[in-house]
Amino acid sequence: MKLIKKGLLDTWQSMPVFGMQHEGIPPGGAMDSFSLQIANALVGNDVYDKALEMHFPAGVYQWETSSLLAICGADFGACIDNIPVPMNQPIKVPPGALLSFKNPVYGQRVYVANRPLRDEQVSRVKLLPWSMNPENVFTDDPIRILCGREWDQIKACSQQMVLGKPFTISAASNRMGYQLIQEPLKMLSAPTMLSSAVTAGTIQLLPSGQVIVLMAGHQTTGGYPRLAHVISADLPRLAQKGPGDNLRFTLTDHTTAEYEWIFVQNYLQQVRNVCALKLHQHRFDHR
């Protein structure tokens, strides 16, 4: 894949890489790891393979070899050679095929997974006859949170504001974290905290009373009060929201957080199994 025109923020992202946080090196990884995994599954890639994560305006790319690709996550009006192509469906492209994105329809981040077809010459763009329909990344249901260590240190009226009123995602939001706009929250007392570990989804309270949700590119430690934590299963959904979007929070418990995570993992495993089977049958039929 050759870069023709650079997008706003195009990066190759994989699943987060753990094991170096004691050196201050964060796990990183794709913002919407769910869409990343669907894209990789559709082309038959490994779970740990990288895919291109892009924001709008997205880059323009050209293929140099026959390849299988899939576009998942945000809908930016993907086109191959200026003809619209569907999302969440495997597409064979010949050498020279040009991928571009015309207009943002919904979502914040698109993922393009790519696998070179070494033993096959593709002569024209061809959609393979199956697709996935992972709609749950784009629902407007409240984002589910677990109480943080300092949840009880904000006033009861501020707790009600967090759970009752919508927040707006500020323009000062990026891969590291989202700043959320609402009336300032009030603490019972001004705490002096020692810095300690944070994770993706940690909701920190700034001294100004505003809150930040840490996202995939978060730092390893922080010293602001930990109000709450977005559950892992809801992080991909949050990652597809962006500046100007509204969101609501609702409290949940650990049992639900763990159940929902297992549910998503099982779904992804089924998607991988189905895609692998479909690709295998397709190769068998077209030998």
Binding site: G19, E23, L194, T199, T202, I231, H254
Partner: protein, 212 residues
């Protein structure tokens, strides 16, 4: 030796933090490092990361594994309690001494001085006359949290993070540190340096005032 008192709490749905105290002390930090080596040598199932801090150790788990096989984080908390009750002695390596030249002309030096009721010269003298310990690395790759600073120059973080340059030296609470790369940060910047060594937890640091 009786294990140090601690509190366990969940950090979201993927991690558990073991908090040995809420203030900075050498004894508590020694306990954190000892437990870091213990959980590194004999890891619990599903461990992805061990993150030591001033007074806490956080264990990050593979959520799918611990939720499907170990009754989730609740089950891991029980395993952590059992592990903490086991006798364990670790040899903690002695740290190196880094002498870091520092130009004390940061943008926040004047406001820190007035907030502390001291002159800029006094802030410089107090900050540079003490030897600090590197407690842990975190926040950014290679960012060393050092302390403790003299209580006369204790200062709170900024209300909002601002852009900070690589090499900037800041204060926050009774902590001091050097930004290894440009980043948004809430620390009060009093100086800067061109020399950022590769720190390890347990190293010692002295700031040497220099004129630009």
């Amino acid at each position: 030796m009786k294990p140090m008192d601690y509190q366990l709490f969940e950090l979201g749905d993927t991690a558990v933090t073991i908090e040995f105290g809420t203030e900075l002390s050498t004894d508590i930090h020694q306990e954190v490092m000892k437990r870091f080596y213990q959980f590194q040598s004999f890891p619990l199932p599903g461990t992805l990361d061990l993150i030591p801090a001033y007074a806490s150790l956080t264990i990050v788990f593979d959520l799918g594994l611990v939720a499907s096989r170990f009754q989730g984080l609740a089950g891991m908390k029980t395993l952590i309690e059992e592990k903490l009750a086991e006798p364990f002695s670790a040899i903690i390596p002695e740290g190196r001494l880094h002498e870091i030249p520092c130009q004390y002309e940061g943008p926040d030096l004047a406001s820190v001085a007035s907030a502390c009721g001291l002159s800029e010269q006094e802030i410089i003298r107090i900050h540079s006359e003490k030897e600090y310990t590197v407690f842990f690395l975190g926040f950014l790759p290679g960012f060393a949290y050092m302390g403790t600073t003299d209580e006369r120059i204790t200062i709170s973080r900024k209300a909002k993070p601002v852009p900070i340059q690589a090499g900037d030296i800041g204060l926050a609470g009774n902590q001091t540190g050097i930004y290894p790369i440009a980043s948004p940060g809430g620390w009060q910047i009093i100086g800067r340096t061109n020399s950022i060594p590769h720190f390890r937890a347990g190293d010692r640091v002295r700031f040497i005032p220099v004129i630009a």
